[in-house]
Subunit: 177 residues, 2 copies
DNA sequence: CTTGGAATGTCAACAAGACTGACGTAACCT
DNA sequence: AGGTTACGTCAGTCTTGTTGACATTCCAAG
């Protein structure tokens, strides 16, 4: 409650160079960044949302499909940690995906309490369709902005994550290798 | 912190100038971008969410406060267009904010059908608190990534928006300015 | 002056997707 | 044998979004 005139660093500080310099970050610049996230995230989800609506699914289904595709054989507990929701919430989504034949739940081999989750053919098909739409927009944005902008984009996003999310993000690898 | 030298420019392609270069964008690179958005957005909303939970408000209230602060005197219809929700949905939120004395709704001068929305002192106080938390994270991310990364971040986000959102985004100016 | 349409607001009903809490079962580990 | 872990489910709540119907107010065109 105290930052109306937040005059941070004095004018006359060294010019920014690299990522080490003290940056002048005005209220206005930061607010524009916040708004950019807001509007961009809306665009980011718009295309998949349209496809999902056709199928009577929602974003929750998309997220599950994405990460099961990304980490085939993952367990429910692991998915829970990544998505950051309760098991009841995830279970509702997972149940419909399994019932609809998009996801397969196999009893774990070494530990039979666990369920290893995989996409079926149909699940992979929908995931590809959703992903293709989202990737098309991402690709267009990347191309419009250029490779240096893309590197910066990723750096800022990564710095914006919670530590736990960053660990999860960095842990993700190619599906299937 | 791994994508400093992500060599996905076409080998031998002309140096990127003006976002014109042809980029090789693999599925994997695009998926990582998608995941970065997902995890970063979670961090982006985490701090305000905690404050809002204390006050029994949600993100919808935050968004309304943000844009009313940003465009003092804006009308309901304009806010509707920016937030991209139905008037019923916005009205529910607005009603509680007005009832709680955070937002003031004044009958329009030139057109008395319109309602010009303003934050009260209390509304400004909460908005500042929410914004301060969000800006703190944004500032930390910007500083960690450096000024060039910030420019790229904004470029990519802007390119990711729908046309309509981009117009709205670019139309936003300093509050009071 | 009347009327059509625009802007606003309200009521009711509903759905998705999150939450908590409680409970049960099976499997694993010591 | 007993305690813990993994998973699933039932029941209830909350926020935030949706439609549809309808009333009010007011500007502006005829």
């Amino acid at each position: 409650m105290n930052d109306r005139g937040m005059g941070w660093e004095q004018p006359g500080a060294p010019a920014p160079s690299g990522g080490e310099a003290l940056l002048f970050l005005t209220d206005e610049q930061l607010r524009k960044g916040i708004e950019a996230m807001f509007f961009a995230y809306r665009g980011f989800t718009a295309d998949p949302d349209r496809i999902l609506a056709e199928q009577d699914y929602g974003r929750a289904h998309h997220r599950a499909l994405h990460f099961i595709n990304r980490m085939p054989g993952t367990t429910v507990t692991n998915l829970l940690a990544i998505l950051g929701v309760t098991k009841q919430s995830l279970n509702r989504v997972l149940r419909t995906l399994i019932a609809d034949g998009l996801v397969e739940s196999r009893v774990g081999r070494s530990d039979r309490r666990e369920r290893n989750l995989h996409l079926t053919e149909a699940g992979e098909a929908l995931e590809r369709r959703l992903s293709a739409a989202q990737r098309a927009r991402m690709r267009a944005a990347y191309r419009a902005a250029g490779p240096e902008a893309v590197a910066g984009f990723r750096q800022v996003l990564e710095a914006m994550m919670d530590d736990e999310s960053r660990r999860q993000y960095q842990g993700l690898r190619e599906p299937r290798g």
